[in-house]
Amino acid sequence: MIPSDEDLNGLLKTWTAPSSPASLEGRLRRAYEVRVRYQTTPAARRMAGLLPFAGKLAGVLAGAVVLLAVITKAFPQSLDLIAPAGAIIIDAEFLDYGDDGTYTVSEYRTSSLTVTPSFYGETILSSSFPGNPVRTAALELLNPLEAIVGPRMHRIVDPLFDKPGRTKALEIAVAARVRNGCVPSPHWGTPMTVIGKETVLNYTTTVSQYEFKDEKFTEWFAPALDCFSLRSTTEKALPDGAFQLTSERRVLKVTKN
């Protein structure tokens, strides 16, 4: 016999639900405390919600850095991405001098000379720090990433912030400086004094100098390399008025990629 609606209703009424447990109140108060006291704003909660995503993103970025390092190590020719054919490659060393005139090499560096209307300088391709394997290993990972990302970021970001015409003005200033033999001008950073001309690695250089407080800085600018400095030294003033060499950066080799 199929039960009637009344029979079914009568049966259904026999199922009663329990009351909510008293412990639920304390539990909810604690949860409220956490939610409101420690994550006071919806934005904070949204940020907290993004943490797992941020972790994944960091993981992906770390993976990308390691992958890039492996590729550049295993396939050095992939550096063509960074330093295209025709680029000027600079090998240099950085020296620290002691009071007795002896020196130690603090860094070996290979870089690409980069001169574009929006970026002027060197892009570090690799570097090593004798006696500091940790720093060497860290920069082995970071240098390729910075070399690839840095110039591209400049191309994207600089136009957003530069005043109209700045890029063009920079381009004109670089060209003018090269034309006048890399003689520093008041428009080019700290005013320097030309003290002569020297040949470094078969490049004619204009030697310029300036003093700041108790230090003297000297640069060897090469007009043929867009005024890139092939050598730079820092000297400190001694009590008797003489200067003592404290550090030096010197280019060992200039090649075309």
């Binding site: 016999m1 199929i2 039960p3 609606d5 029979d7 079914l8 209703n9 049966l11 259904l12 026999t14 199922w15 009663t16 639900a17 329990p18 009351s19 909510s20 447990p21 639920l24 109140e25 539990r27 909810l28 108060r29 949860a31 409220y32 405390e33 939610r35 409101v36 919806p42 909660r45």
Partner: protein, 183 residues
């Protein structure tokens, strides 16, 4: 604290624990009760109740008094949490006429001695959409319009779910009725 509307308390809930707990006291029983009936699990019902009330802290952006009362909103929140408990995501549809071996279900049900357990087991065999409609109508005694608003369906669909759910229960419970009438 003078008597305040749910909406006023909700506005204060993010800054006032007292306002939040007052809302909890007003609605805790219906939320827990429906959660329990939808999940058949007291521990799950506690979790769902907590989530529903904590969800109210985000409600100023989600709860629209023009669409219904806070009670209706909470019923909808319980229903959504229960669907998550059953492994259903938003938009998933639990088949209404899932083929089940009713005879097997019945044999399990009648192993239970307590009448209320028999009913509970019988209801738990209903597809979730039919169970939701039945619990809101039969136990919460909500009008069809409100059930339709909570479930996001037409009133006709609510009636249909109720009809099919009750018919199914009758079929399942027929042997129990016959047995109890001859006892």
């Amino acid at each position: 604290m003078p008597e305040q509307t749910d909406e006023a308390l909700l506005d204060l809930a993010g800054r006032s624990e007292a306002a939040f707990m007052l809302l909890f006291e007003r609605h805790r029983e219906i939320v827990f009760r429906v959660a329990y009936r939808l999940t058949n699990d007291a521990a799950a019902a506690e979790d769902i109740t907590q989530e529903c009330f904590l969800g109210l802290l985000d409600a100023p952006g989600r709860f629209d008094p023009a669409k219904g009362s806070l009670r209706t909103y909470l019923y909808g929140a319980v229903r959504n949490q229960a669907r998550k408990y059953h492994g259903l995501r938003d938009g998933d549809v639990d088949l209404e006429d899932t083929e089940v071996d009713e005879a097997a279900e019945v044999s399990q049900i009648f192993l239970q001695q307590e009448q209320s357990q028999v009913i509970r087991q019988a209801i738990s065999t209903l597809p979730l959409p039919q169970r939701e409609a039945l619990i809101l109508f039969q136990y919460e005694e909500l009008p069809l319009e409100e059930i339709a608003a909570i479930l996001g369906i037409e009133i006709g669909a609510v009636k249909s779910r109720l009809h099919r759910g009750r018919a199914r229960l009758k079929r399942i419970l027929t042997p129990y009725f016959q047995g109890s009438n001859t006892r």
